[in-house]
Every structure is written in C-alpha cells, then in structure tokens.
C-alpha cells in the first residue's frame, strides 16, 4: 500500500497526474451529462421509426423537402439580423457604462438586464400587448406587423442583448490606462484610439459575443413559437417533429443541424485565439476617464432610449396584469395575482427558488473549476481542446433537445445514474448544462485577465496548485464568479423548455406554471407571475450588489492596512 502510494506520488510529481485526473474527471462528468444524452438522442437520426438502421435516409428526406430546408435559411436570416443589432447595441451600451462619466450607471445596468430576469415567453406576451393587432402602439396607428420575421427578430434582440452586454461590460471594464495615456501624449485622436486600442483589445469578446448571440437565436424556440406566425425556423421544425408527429428520428435530424453554428464558432475561436495574446499584466494602471460633456450626453440619450424600450415592455406587463380583460374590459383589478392552486400555486415558487439556488451553487463551482482547468493548465493540449469544444455545444441545443435526450439517457434502467430521474438533481443538472456556455466564457475571460505569473511563482515556491487557486485566483475572480452565480440563478428561475420534460408531479416550478397559464389563455395571470419572478430576480440582484460592495470595502480596508 505504502509502495503504491510512493509510486503514485512519484508519478504525480513528474507528470502532474492529479491535474490530469481532475481534468479527465471533469471531462467525464461533462461527457456523462452532455455527450451521452446527445448520443442516445442523435443516434436515432440514423434509425427508422421501428429502430432499424436507415443510414442517411432521414437526412435525405429532410433536405429533399423544399419547405423544410427553407427553415434553414430563415433561421440563418433571423439569427444574423438579430445578432448584428444586439451586438452593436450591447457594445455601445456597455461602452457607455464603462468608458464615460455617465450619470446613473447602476440603474442603467439593471435595466439592461431586465430581459434575462423574466421568462422569454413573457417577452412575447409583452410584445403582443405593445405591437399585437390590439397592441397599445398598434392602436396609436403604428402597425409593425409583429407576427413573423419582425416579431422573431425583435424578440431575439431582447433575449440576446443582456448576454452580449454582460460580456462587453466585463471586457471593457478592464483596460490598461498607460496605453491611452501614451496614445494621448502622442496626439492620437480619440476616434483612432478607439479603433487602434479599444477595439483590438476586446476583439476576442466581440467575436465571442457574436457567436453567442447567433447560436442562442439560432436555437431559440420560445419566440418563434409565440410570434413566428408562418415563418418557419429549425426550432419550430423540431417541435413539429417531436411534439406534433412524435417522430423522434426526424427530431434528431433537425437537432443535429443546430449544432453546426456551435462547431463553426469553436473553429473560429481556435483561429482567433491563437492570434490573441493580450492579457492585462500586473503593471497596468487604472484608466482615468476624461471629462467630456458632449460624449456623456450623447451616451446618456442612447442609454435612455434603450432603457425606455425595456421599461415600456415591463409597463405593458403591468398594464396586462392589472386589467380585467385587455383590451375589452380595462377596469383595474388585483385578481390576476390570486394564483389558481391547480397550477402549483405559490408552492411552485419555493420549488423554483430551491432549484435555482442549487443550480447557481453547483453550476458556478463546476463552471469555474472547468474553466480553470481548460485555461490555467499548460499541458494536455488535446484534452483541453476537447474540453473547450464541449463547452460551446450546450448553447446550441434547444431546451427540448436537452430534455428529451436526458429522458433517453437517464431514464434507462441500465444507467447507474437512473436514480436521479424524477428528482431535483436532474433538473439542476439539466440547468447547469443548458446554461453552461455563457458562464464558461465569462469565467475564461476573467481567468485570461489574470497574469500567469501567479502560477509560475507559486510553482517555483512549491505552493500546491489548489492553494494558489483558493488564495489567489478565486479572490481575484470574485466579480466574475458572482456574475456566473447570478446568471445561473436567474436563468434557472425562468427556464421552461428543458425542464418541462423532466420535472415530476411532486416538484412543480413557477416558470412551468407560467407556460401553463399562457397555454390556458390566462395571459394576464401569466403576466402577473412573470412580474413576481422579475421582482425576485431584482431582489437577488440587489443583495448581490450589496455583497459586492461589502467585498470591495473589505478589500480596500485590507489594502489600506497592508500599506
């Protein structure tokens, strides 16, 4: 036994086995919750209805139907347009909040995040209140023709804006003031400074944000279902195959097509990353933002306009939730907040909280360590590449695909993990997987900014890795970690598409209750429940801001003391 231990010790010293094992273990966990379920679903793409091998016959059938392949072009179309809008707007918004002396930054930041605080189905409800045939704005005489391409694009921009905004916000917050000072000293104009310093500095984030928005819009089902009209996209095709005709084989065919953007984004990411090596080093100074009334007022107008759009959406929800029967009985009422017990009532709210906290705690820990392993270990290149490829796939999967493939995999009697089926564990796992990609990017971004010097110094001083991780890396990445925590929490609060297949009779959750209300035609009740979820998310967000303030305060104190 002692002999074994010695061998292990010696081996580990030479080959850093623990790192390899931890990395492998994490890849395997991810493999078990991502690759295996996907294989169990996508293998059906090559089978016929009765389980016989069919080769590529299903793909052939899909591409031979002209109506079905129209969906592919439609999906690319709406994804591209909404991505361009959302990336440009989110960049400007984040730029305004980080590189100008705008008043009310905190408030603007909150407002920018409203869309991820409410379930996507509620975005659609709000848009119908505003732009539908009886919408407030339509009645004022401006009919945008909501249903179809327009509706999907607006909805996707709203949905992806906060995600892009958060990525830009983090990226733009870090800047090396020395570069700007030097540039100014050399008489380089602000516009040039923007294009020569700022933009190259966040180039990587721009590309990432582009792919995140594109992939999210590409796979989203909520908006096309409610607002799509006759405009077919791949996600509605999957729905038609799986929940309309119960043809799992065709569903698997369409599902596999959705992975294409993720794979492309991974390849582009590899190419870009090899050229991108700008990290913030330990000598960077804080960027001092110069005074400029013109710039600040321009940005103020811009941010106000964007914020108003989101606020109007929320106002529309309030209007819907507080009226008797829009638009025919406009009397004021509170009755929409008295939830019917049959939908799980207020109990489903506690379940949602429970599930969301669990998702946030375990998800954050998992993502951060995973990103750390992929980013901060300098060996095992191939394994780390696989790890990164895994990390972009979840974003490309509509919840329905995750839900169905989890059933196929975890509900198998021969699977030793079968016991988690029907419990809260499978809900938490599906959430961690479903929302993995964006937190992974946030974590990677934060880790990239940390100087690799820390690790080398620690290594040369023979300080174990985990100590460096706990004492240096985690504290320095705390803002990113909290951001990831929040992201998981709010998304778990509002998610429907995956968990709808996985929740059990004893554990109903609020977001599903909302989709039931919407289905049953209780639109105003759904709006009411959506507002409650918004409220919870805002409260949690405020607690989070307070936590950050306390941490910063303590750190400042400590620094003062050490000085």
């Amino acid at each position: 036994m002692v002999f074994m231990k010695n061998i292990l010790n010696r081996l580990s010293r030479r080959f850093s086995l623990p790192q390899l094992f931890v990395l492998l273990a994490f890849l395997l966990v991810f493999g078990a919750i991502l690759i295996c379920p996907l294989i169990s679903l996508f293998s059906k793409a090559f089978l016929d209805k009765y389980g016989n091998y069919a080769g590529l016959a299903n793909y052939q059938k899909y591409f031979n139907n002209p109506n079905l392949s129209i969906s592919i072009w439609n999906t690319i179309d709406i994804s591209l347009v909404s991505t361009v809008f959302s990336v440009v707007l989110a960049f400007l918004f984040a730029y305004a909040l980080t590189r100008s002396n705008l008043k009310g930054k905190t408030l603007f930041k909150y407002i920018a995040m409203i869309p991820i605080f409410i379930p996507t189905i509620i975005h659609a409800v709000g848009l119908v209140y505003l732009f539908g045939k009886q919408g407030v704005i339509t009645r004022m005489g401006w009919d945008i023709g909501l249903y179809g391409r327009t509706g999907i694009i607006i909805s996707e921009v709203i949905f992806t804006f906060p995600q892009a905004f958060l990525m830009f916000f983090v990226a733009l917050e870090y800047a090396d003031g020395r570069l700007y000072d030097a540039a100014e000293a050399m008489g380089i104009s602000p516009v040039k400074r923007f294009f020569r310093i700022t933009l190259p500095d966040v180039k990587y984030t721009v590309i990432n944000a582009f792919f995140v928005c594109f992939t999210l819009a590409f796979a989203d089902f909520g908006a096309p279902k409610v607002l799509g009209g006759n405009y077919n996209v791949l996600a509605t095709d999957i729905y038609k195959q799986i929940a309309g005709q119960f043809n799992m084989n065709m569903g698997a065919v369409v599902g596999s097509l959705l992975l294409i953007p993720a794979v492309i984004s991974f390849i582009v990411d590899r190419i870009v990353r090899s050229k991108n090596s700008s990290t913030l080093n330990a000598k960077a100074t804080k960027l001092v933002i110069k005074k400029s009334f013109k710039r600040d007022s321009l940005f103020f107008v811009f941010c106000t306009v964007i914020s108003l759009c989101f606020l109007v959406l929320v106002a529309a929800l309030f209007m819907g939730a507080l009226t008797e029967y829009y638009p025919y009985k406009m009397d004021f009422t509170w009755k929409n907040f008295e939830f019917n017990n049959s939908t799980g009532g207020i109990g489903s709210f506690y379940h949602s909280l429970e599930m969301s906290v669990a998702t946030a705690v375990f998800g954050t820990a998992f993502v951060f360590i995973y990103a750390y392993l992929c980013e901060k270990i300098r060996k095992f290149g191939a394994l780390r590449k696989i790890g990164k490829l895994f990390s972009v796939l979840p974003m490309a999967l509509p919840g329905m695909v995750i839900g169905i493939s989890f059933i196929f995999f975890f509900n198998n009697k021969h699977n030793p993990l079968n016991f988690i089926y029907g419990t809260i564990i499978i809900l938490v796992l599906s959430n961690i997987l479903h929302y993995f990609s964006v937190p992974f990017i946030t974590a990677t971004g934060a880790l990239k900014k940390l100087d690799a010097e820390f690790e080398s110094v620690a290594e040369s001083m023979n300080i174990p890795r985990w100590k460096t991780l706990l004492r240096v890396t985690v504290p320095l990445s705390l803002p990113a970690i909290l951001e990831i925590f929040m992201y998981y929490f709010v998304n778990a609060m509002v998610t429907v598409s995956a968990v709808v297949f996985l929740y059990s009779a004893n554990f109903r959750i609020a977001s599903i209750a909302i989709s039931h209300m919407e289905e049953a035609g209780n639109i105003s009740q759904a709006a009411a429940m959506g507002l409650l979820i918004l409220l919870i998310n805002v409260i949690v967000r405020i607690l989070y801001e307070i936590a950050v303030k306390i941490i910063q305060f303590k750190r400042k104190k400590k620094e003062e003391r050490t000085i």
Binding site: I39, W466, A520
Partner: protein, 366 residues
C-alpha cells in the same frame, strides 16, 4: 499526501463516470413480448397506494375532477403530470424503455394510437366499459384505450372585431363562409403538423368533401388565401380571437366557450356542414408490474360521476347522452361528422405531407 488523496478521488470519479458511460451504449433487451393479457404481473392494492398519472386535461379541470376521485379513494395518492398533448405524448414515447407513468388520462386518441402502435399500452377493460359507445374505444378485444369525451372543430369569433369588418356573427355559419373576402387576413388556424386540433380539422374537411377527391384540397387552398397565420397549438386560435389578435380562430368548442366565460367578447360557432373531431381517452401503460390502484383510477375515470364532471366542459361524452348544453346552441353530438378513423390513420402521413408542401412555409418567402 494531499496529492494522493486527490488522485484517489479522481480515480473514484473516473470509475463512476465510466460506469455511467456504459449505460450510454448498453442496448436494452426489448420489453417482454406482446401483451398476453390476463397474465400481467400486478402489485399494490386496489384502494391504497400512490399512482402517477400523465394527462393533457386543462389544469383547472384536473383539480376539479380529481376532487371527486380523492373523496372516493382517500388512500390513493395521485401524482399528476400535466402538459400539452404534444409534450406529454413525446415524454411518454421517450420514456418507453422505463415508463414512469402508471396511466394516461384524458389525452388525445390520436396519441393513444401512436402509443398503441409502439406497444406501450397494456390492454385493460375498466369496470363499466360496456357503457362506452363502440366508436369511442379501441377496436381490440380487450381495449387498449377508452375514450371519455370528444372535442370538435369550432370557429371562435371575436364579435367586436367582426363588426369592424362590416360582418355580423350570423354571417358566419359554415366552412364556405370563411372564404368571404372581408375575412382575408383575419383567420388564424392551428397547424396540423404541430397540433391535434389542426389535424382533426383538416381531416374533417377532407372527409366532408369525399375523402380522396381534390375537392377538399381545393377548399383548403381557397381558405389559405384568407388565413393570417397557422399556429402551433389547438387552443391558441381561440385565445387570439379572444384577445382580438385575430377575428376568427379555427379552434375547438371548449377553447372558445371557456374564453367567453372569462369575459372575452367571443362567440363559438359550429360549422353547419359538421365538425371533425377527436376524443380524450384513458389507457394503462405497459410496465413490468401493474399497480392495482391504477386500475381503480381507470375504473373511476369512466363512472357516471366522472362522466358528469367531464360533461360540464366537454358536452360530448363517450357514454352518449343528449339534451342541450351550456354554451351550445345545437345538440353537439349531431355536430360530429362520421369520422372514419381507419381512413384517417392510414392517410395521416400523406395528408400531413401534402398539407405541408402546399401551405406550410409558403408565406415565408415574404
């Protein structure tokens, strides 16, 4: 020391995950051969225990109906999973290898036929099944599924918006009336490829026009000219009409009548030519061991007291019955067309394909 602990942990995790991986590829021996009824293994007791019920009935109706069951069998705990027909059926099919539900309650017969075809239903004749009309249950000697009520094509019309178009409710009585030029762009119908209601409407129109002739398709083509959009749910056209998002929703009876009760300015019209229809049905799920309490539930689900509850909302019940009903101006049973389920089942795929190539995605070019 610490290193070796972490190695140990990693090895354990690795081992665990590898076993999980084998689950990934392990092929299951398919379930025991087709149901030789009577020899089904059972467990539990007839009047106690806990059962899992999957249903597509509306949330509020589930609560209402279950109250009756709970009063009669207080020792049976019923766990209900309620989702739309599409989601619940997809879930049942995906869970085929290891079914979680003991029984399905109030879910479309067309879904039952799919499940039956996949060998997922256990034949069971609930007590009193002889009272169910023949056309409301499966044609097997021991029925695999038993219908409880029917739903049928209906036009849900927003009267306020209709008047703005210069029409009155009386102007819309038949399928032909939907072709009026005033209604162009003001009709919403459910997509037969994603909604059971959409399919029964299309199948109904085709049958009313002589099944295999082109007449039915000609009508659908003319109707397509007036359609604003095809949506992915059976009740959504009714809800859109209720909220004024469209003027006419081609939906089903209950969807319109319940919207009116909630205060919407809508009228529900049943086309004079007759309505296509489908039923809500119950079935026992095939499992290694059948919970006896599940049979109790299926027995209760077709008792008179249950039927009377269904009748409140879906007037056409599987035991027959007549008279007038709240919200209906005519005898709803006479409204149903002679539905040739064999023809419908046989032609389902070709109808859907033809419909898709003619109408679906056509307007996407805009």
């Amino acid at each position: 020391m610490k290193k070796s602990i972490s190695i140990l942990l990693a090895v354990i995790t690795l081992g665990l995950m590898l076993t999980a991986f084998t689950g990934c590829t392990a092929s299951n021996p398919s379930d025991n051969s087709a149901g030789d009824n009577n020899t089904v293994a059972t467990f539990g007791s007839k009047d106690s225990g806990s059962i899992t019920v999957y249903t597509a009935l509306e949330d509020e109706l589930v609560t209402e109906y279950l109250a009756d069951f709970n009063a009669k069998y207080p020792n049976i705990k019923v766990n209900v999973v309620r989702e739309s027909t599409g989601v619940i059926t997809a879930k049942l099919i995906a869970e085929k290898e290891n079914p979680q539900a003991d029984l399905v309650w109030g879910t479309a017969a067309s879904s039952m036929m799919v499940l039956d075809d996949q060998g997922q239903l256990e034949p069971y004749a609930p007590v009193g099944v002889e009272r169910i009309l023949t056309k409301f249950k499966s044609d097997k000697a021991v029925p695999t599924w038993v219908g409880i009520d029917a739903w049928e094509t209906a036009f849900v019309i927003n009267t306020v918006e209709l008047e703005k178009l210069g029409l009155k409710v009386e102007d819309i009585k038949s399928y032909q009336d939907l072709l009026k030029p005033e209604l162009k762009g003001h009709i919403v119908m459910s997509n037969p490829n994603s909604s059971g209601t959409g399919f029964l409407t299309v199948a109904g129109v085709l049958q009313l026009n002589g099944k295999d002739t082109e007449k039915g398709w000609d009508y659908l083509t003319a109707l397509h000219e007036n359609i604003d959009q095809y949506v992915h749910s059976g009740s959504k056209p009714a809800k859109m009409a209720a909220g004024g998002e469209t003027v006419v929703g081609v939906s089903f009876g209950y969807a319109g009548i319940s919207q009116k009760k909630k205060g919407a300015p809508v009228e529900t019209i049943f086309p004079t030519e007759g309505s296509g229809w489908d039923m809500e049905a119950n079935a026992l799920i095939k499992k290694d061991k059948i919970n006896l309490a599940a049979q109790t539930f299926l027995d209760w689900a077709i008792t008179d007291s249950a039927m009377n509850l269904y009748k409140e909302n879906y007037p056409i019940i599987a035991t027959g019955g007549d008279g007038t009903y709240d919200g209906y101006t005519i005898d709803p049973i006479k409204q149903l067309i002679e539905n040739d389920f064999v023809w419908v089942a046989k032609n389902r795929d070709s109808i859907l394909e033809k419909w898709m190539s003619k109408f679906d995605g056509k307007s996407a070019a805009k």
